[in-house]
């Protein structure tokens, strides 16, 4: 059977074939579709966790119960889950545990470009790397067996182009697997220091066993015999570029990249005149080969930042690029088209206020990070999920009178449940006077509208227990918690001013559902009276796709505008009118 699948869908298929009983994780591009696809299969329990660490720990618990478990996240998610990831390595597994790390070379949707192959090495767990959708299927399936055979969690390291490419997959029958039940084993599973010291030795033993397997495995680490002039060692997506650039070369393709089968590499190197490593990002394989005393090329001819592609590999291996001549528009300046908040988005109005009130905004990650772009440009820092809360406290405490009464943290609701809660606890107990604005749009919008603890839905769209953001903040001990309607600019502004002035921690919760997540149909558009318009441009500066310049005047696109009313409220001459009945 041949079926077209997204790389991520193929992972789900492979996991289902392996009779995985449990799938967990937290959304994050490019990993999100794995769990969404797995949720469609029967006989699997699939759930979103509030963050990667929790998702990982629930999967470990499932594994302890003797079933197979899959946990998925983007590369930075593994930082959040790093604590259980490193420690679970010491415990080993009962039922197989596979963790997918979806890395993002080129940072198409991420704040950093870390290469998580080094995480597998540091945690001393097995690592596998598929190159396309079909490999994603069978490697996921087999990774569970590896996990159990070598008593290790297995890190499946993918990258954007593997996750988000679609290719032909050959689905297979489901494998046999009988859940084992819980096995009591205190020295193995209770990581007291003296137990952990014993486990430390076991880890090295298991890596040696895995290495012996990897050294002789033609399935995982196949060699393609070709010309003896050049031998290429590669893994993951780079393999495709190598095949296309030099179909005649000898290639050692590594499917298991921790532990690295160095004797296999050494033997392969002996059969060729020149050895080259083609890998994306860090010289992970190359450095290991060099440390083993083998001469090798790699990052001397290939970049160590960003994605690889065919021309880069052609240039490195052939010395020239094949397709040089292109159709070309000449030297026309093409206006950029950056992503923007959707027309009608509940984040737009409040960011207009942040800008106009000249606030110091410690931002966070989500759709609202787009509030940092022109013409809003109303965010002063954004680092990683949950960080707005801590950064706001720090800046307010040490920014002097200039930042006093002006500093806010702004965080989305999914991000708040992910890792903002503990930051807020710290604000309370350490007497911060900063204000935290929580954008409660009920969905994890940025990654395509997944539910979170505040949504009241599970991954299947079924009703689920729902946490209320404002109530949670009050229960933690915040005295000043106010809810606002972010479409009402005047009222929101007033409350922001009051809370900024208050000499204690306050939380402002802006409640309005994401239009896409909640599937709210588009409303009627606003109208502009060009007679009264004074061309001040305030409506343009709310940064909405539905309103643009035409002959020097603002013009509304009725197909896009749903009449949210933000531009109407910033229009001083009152030239913009809401649709009737609003």
């Amino acid at each position: 059977m041949r079926k077209l699948m997204l790389g991520n869908e193929a992972v789900a298929r492979g996991a289902w074939e392996a009779r995985v009983a449990f799938g967990s994780g937290y959304p994050g591009t490019p990993s999100t579709e794995i769990l969404e696809a797995l949720a469609v299969y029967p006989d699997v329990k699939v759930q979103w966790a509030p963050n990667e660490k929790v998702g990982y720990e629930v999967a470990v618990g499932a594994g302890l119960a003797g079933v197979r478990a899959l946990v998925t996240m983007k590369h930075v998610g593994l930082n959040v889950a790093a604590d259980p990831f490193f420690s679970s390595s010491y415990m080993g597994v009962n039922g197989g545990l596979v963790v997918v790390s979806a890395d993002d070379p080129g940072m198409a949707s991420s704040q950093d470009e870390q290469d998580n192959r080094s995480m597998a090495k540091a945690a001393k767990v097995l690592m596998v790397e598929p190159y396309d959708a079909e490999e994603a299927r069978w490697m996921t399936r087999e990774a569970f067996a590896l996990s159990e055979a070598f008593d290790s969690p297995v890190l499946m390291r993918m990258t954007t182009r593997v996750c988000h490419h679609t290719g032909v997959v050959h689905p297979a029958e489901r494998a046999e697997f009988t859940p084992k039940g819980f096995v009591k084993d205190i020295p193995k599973f209770v990581l007291l220091p003296n137990h952990a010291r014993a486990r430390r030795v076991k880890i090295e033993e298991r890596l040696q066993k895995a290495l012996a397997f990897s050294e002789q495995s033609d399935l995982w680490n196949p060699i393609r015999k070709g010309s003896s002039d050049i031998g290429i060692v590669t893994s993951g997506v780079s393999y495709g570029y190598v095949l296309e650039t030099m179909p005649e070369a000898s290639v050692l393709k590594l499917g298991i990249t921790n532990p690295l089968p160095m004797e296999r590499i050494r033997a392969f190197a002996k059969t060729v005149k020149k050895l080259v490593v083609v890998e994306e990002l860090e010289p992970y394989i190359e450095e290991a080969i060099r440390a083993a005393g083998i001469q090798v090329h790699g990052k001397d001819i290939l970049p160590d930042t960003g994605e690889l592609n065919l021309p880069l590999v052609e240039k490195a291996l052939l010395g020239h690029v094949r397709d040089k001549v292109t159709a070309h528009p000449g030297d026309v300046k093409i206006p950029v088209r950056p992503p923007t908040l959707c027309p009608g988005c509940s984040h737009r109005g409040i960011f207009t206020l942040f800008r106009d009130m000249k606030l110091r905004v410690m931002g966070d990650i989500g759709c609202y990070t787009l509030g940092a772009l022109k013409p809003l440009a109303a965010m002063d820092a954004c680092m990683c999920m949950g960080a707005s809360v801590g950064m706001a406290q720090g800046l307010e405490k040490f920014g002097g009178p200039k930042e006093k009464g002006k500093t806010i943290g702004v965080i989305g609701d999914s991000t708040f449940f992910h890792s903002g809660l503990t930051g807020l606890v710290d604000m309370i107990v350490n007497r911060s006077q900063a204000t935290l604005v929580i954008l409660d749009n009920r969905w994890t919008a940025m990654t395509g509208g997944q539910p979170h603890p505040g949504t009241g839905k599970d991954i299947h769209g079924e009703d689920a227990p729902q946490l209320n953001v404002a109530e949670v903040c009050r229960a933690l001990g915040v005295k000043r918690v106010r809810e606002v309607d972010p479409y009402n600019l005047e009222a929101t502004r007033k409350i922001l001013e009051e809370e900024l002035a208050a000499p204690e921690v306050s939380v402002v919760v802006a409640v309005a559902p994401c239009l896409l997540g909640a599937r709210i149909p588009k409303g009627e558009p606003v109208e502009i009276n060009l007679e009264t318009c004074n061309r001040c441009g305030a409506c343009i500066r709310v940064g909405c796709m539905a309103i643009h310049e035409k002959d020097g005047f603002p013009d509304v696109d009725p197909d896009l505008c749903g009449g949210c009313g933000v531009c109407e409220q910033v229009c001083e001459p009152g030239a913009i009118s809401l649709p009737a009945g609003k």
Partner: protein, 196 residues
């Protein structure tokens, strides 16, 4: 390696992913190998998007290099221009004459769109075919048909047979819209076969 490269370009939300998926499905039905690279996440929020589809007997990688696309299918004029350098000089561009203005930053006129864009496009790709899919979709009474109309036009230059396309369309679309999609797909074929 004998690989045909098709690049789709447009603005997030225009249906580019659906088009490329139908094309890839048609290739599978025709017994070909296919790899396609798509965009999810941040890039979809109203920004420019592109998907790469590569079909052939064996397709090792999914990204089309600049200057290697045999076909460029653009749902929007500015995006046709932005991705033009992916096209081979002798490649064919199917462009829907839709204009979606990027986010304006002020009320000044000069920087909003490229002047004389039609001419610029025609000179940069001598084999450019205008396909007013938006107009045809309006006539058909469903704006979502733009993607199948453009596919119909493209299909006239690809090795897959009518039955492969039909199977792909039936696989991708719900029973409710299948017939409408097939009709619009044929409309796209007719349009480039016998331009009015």
């Amino acid at each position: 390696m004998d690989i045909t490269n098709i690049l789709f370009a447009g603005v997030g939300g225009q249906g580019i992913l659906t088009s490329s998926r139908v094309l890839a499905l048609a290739a599978v039905h025709a017994g070909l190998d296919v790899k396609m690279s798509e965009v999810h996440g941040m890039a979809q929020r109203g920004g420019n998007v592109d998907t790469h589809v590569r079909i052939g007997k064996e397709v090792p990688s999914s990204l089309i290099p600049e200057g290697a696309a045999h076909f460029l299918v653009s749902f929007e004029k500015l995006e046709a221009l932005r991705y033009m350098h992916y096209l081979r000089p002798e490649g064919v561009a199917f462009v829907c004459p839709t204009e979606i203005h990027p986010l304006a930053l002020n009320l000044r006129k000069d920087e909003s769109y490229v002047k004389d864009i039609d001419k610029v496009l025609e000179t940069s790709a001598p084999k450019l075919v205008w396909v007013d899919a938006t107009e045809m979709a309006k006539e058909a009474g469903d704006l979502r048909m733009v993607n199948v109309i453009l596919l119909g036009a493209l299909s006239t230059r690809l090795p897959m047979g009518p039955e492969d396309w039909e199977a792909a369309i039936r696989e991708r679309f719900s029973a409710k819209v299948q017939e409408a999609c097939l009709a619009s797909f044929k409309r796209g074929i007719q349009y480039v076969s016998a331009p009015v």
